[in-house]
Amino acid sequence: MNPRTLYDKIWDEHLVATRTDGTSLIYIDRHLVHEVTSPQAFEGLREAGRPLRRPNTILSVADHNVPTIDREKGIDDETCRLQVEALEANVKAYGVPYLPLLDDCQGIVHVVGPEQGFTLPGTTIVCGDSHTSTHGAFGALAFGIGTSEVEHVMATQTLPQRKSRNLRVRFEGRLPRGLGAKDLALALIGHIGTAGGTGHVMEFTGPAVRALSMEGRMTLCNMSIEGGARSGLVAPDETTFTYLHGRPLAPKRAMWEAALAHWRTLASDENAAFDTEITLEVGSLAPQVTWGTSPQWVTDIAGRVPDPETAASTDDRQSMLRALEYMDLRPGTPIEAIELQAVFIGSCTNGRIEDLREAAAVARGRKVAQGVRALVVAGSGLVKRQAEAEGLDRIFLEAGFEWRQPGCSMCLGMNDDRLAEGVRCASTSNRNFEGRQGRGSRTHLVSPGMAAAAAVTGHFTDVRRLMEA
């Protein structure tokens, strides 16, 4: 057999049929469902009188529009409440496993799936959410889909697909202390652009990726979509297996051993051909900060807001001018001179325990700067509980951060956690699009450590300086 990439292997293993029109029918092992992109899919099934083929392959949870404060009192916003109630009625009617809002295990789908052991190497995972790429950290082929496809998977357990191209990203060298997966992701997107990965599945390789924890690999794969790739992949290794062992839904005993034997084969063959190759040397990378309204507009903490006059084309210049106007930034401004009014630590990108530890290490013994509102939103109830057991909540609260209940929160502001017009925010989330965190709000994407550093100094600061202090 020809040498194959990891993506090729998972694809081949899930090929149900090749149809006469050239499309492939791919089997879907796992399906994550949340309240925002599922109601119309359930409705479609109902109208067509179709059954849901395999309810037990689904894990459902409300995360996008749930309140992160006083949740016990119910949901005030009527439209949000109706959507969560619709999910609860649908999962009940179709017998779909559901993590209730007040359950300790509730949280963001892409945090909950891995921590429950629902996410396994070599499986195919979909969800009506673009950040489904997160699960690729385990060597699973995971991608976001639309609601019509959600309905398709519910009805048939498959999706018609076209095979993507293989893209390999090699991160060479060792990340400097104080930098993490978020910096890798932003640096990559800065390099290839937000459409750089379109039509590809990205496999992340190299020593800097091997050195990442599962949390870090999830952050990296999570951001694949911001580089245009529907999926990111990291081949599973001992780090993966150690993380998974003993998780509630992970295989047990003899089944675990059988799974492990297969999972060890899930790596790209040595001579496998990639359509595109990118190599980045990361040994001298500095903490990354976005300055525009697209994740590709990024520089490092020592950098300055660029001058649109230096843009490669007229179109680029127009885009940059528009972004700088929206962001209210002047060319040449040092990144360190940019002052913040808000800080958000959380999301499916950076709402895991390691992220909160990284931020807490900076916040410890310091105070949130005057005029800054800082929010910490754990990615799940289990992350929140773990953080509280480690005393991180006290560190944040004593420093003046708010300590919230789990959900997507201010990453997209579907609940009440929104920024007011003109407010500038250092955010550990994934998108700095116009209006993403609230109409007229200004988002700068950074790592959890950099967000905490911005919170306690009131402007962007190299987190490494606070670590040395």
Binding site: E13, V16, A17, R19, D21, G22, T23, L25, Y27, V36, T37, P39, Q40, E43, A48, N56, T79, L82, Q83, A86, P97, F118, L120, G128, D129, S130, G144, I145, G146, T147, S148, E149, H152, A155, T156, T158, P160, R162, T194, A195, T198, G199, I225, G228, P248, L249, M255, W256, A258, D315, S319, R322, L412, G413, E421, R431, F433, E434, R439, G440
Partner: protein, 200 residues
């Protein structure tokens, strides 16, 4: 689904790059339980001011573009969130075809699920079409866009074309493969039994 064959209509130029799905339909309108009624909120944050009044400088607030059925846009249209609310909003407004140099993958697929045609043309062709006075014609059977004295051919995968031309229901198509799916499940249970889950 309503088939797509040939469309003649007003084309609204919105020639920005990287028009993301948050811009097409912002978060506050994702709380709906139905697919219809989103057209009034299409491009909400740039189409209306903070008091909810129309911004006269926005293209879709100007005649004749209020009645546009074609959108001309920059590269990487539909990037970001997977929300199918984006094509739902475009369609509900009356847009049936989007002409841009490139599209984000998830959005591209979502268009075909809703009878919308995304047409990939060079930026030069888009800019030329934006100067045409009067309507454009998007002719799917022959894969051409015509306007004024201009005519541009476009590529489209035959399977995608068939879905639009015939208004095919993808789930019904896949149901023709139900025996293949059942056979796959039997084989997979044997070969990879650890994938089976018992959710508690």
């Amino acid at each position: 689904m309503e088939p797509f064959t040939t469309l003649t209509g007003i084309a609204a130029p919105l020639l920005r790059a990287n028009i993301d799905t948050d811009l097409i339909i912002p978060k506050q309108f994702l709380k709906t339980l139905v697919r219809s009624g989103l057209g009034q909120h299409l491009f909400h944050e740039v189409r209306y001011d903070s008091e909810g009044r129309e911004r006269p400088d926005f293209i879709l607030n100007q005649a004749p573009y209020r009645g546009a059925s074609i959108l001309l846009a920059g590269p990487n249209f539909g990037c970001g969130s997977s929300r199918e609310h984006a094509p739902w909003a475009l369609k509900d407004f009356g847009i049936r075809a989007i002409l841009a140099p490139s599209f984000a993958d998830i959005f591209y697929t979502n268009c075909f699920s809703n009878g919308l045609l995304p047409v990939a043309l060079s930026m030069a062709a888009i800019e030329t079409l934006a100067t045409v006075e009067g309507p454009l014609t998007v002719d799917l059977p022959v894969q051409r866009v015509r306007g004024g004295d201009h005519s541009f051919a476009f590529d489209l995968e035959p399977a995608r074309k068939a879905v639009l031309l015939e208004g095919l229901d993808e789930i019904r198509r896949t149901e023709a493969n139900l025996a293949d799916i059942a056979a796959y499940e039997t084989r997979r249970r044997k070969e990879a039994p650890w994938v089976e889950i018992r959710v508690h």
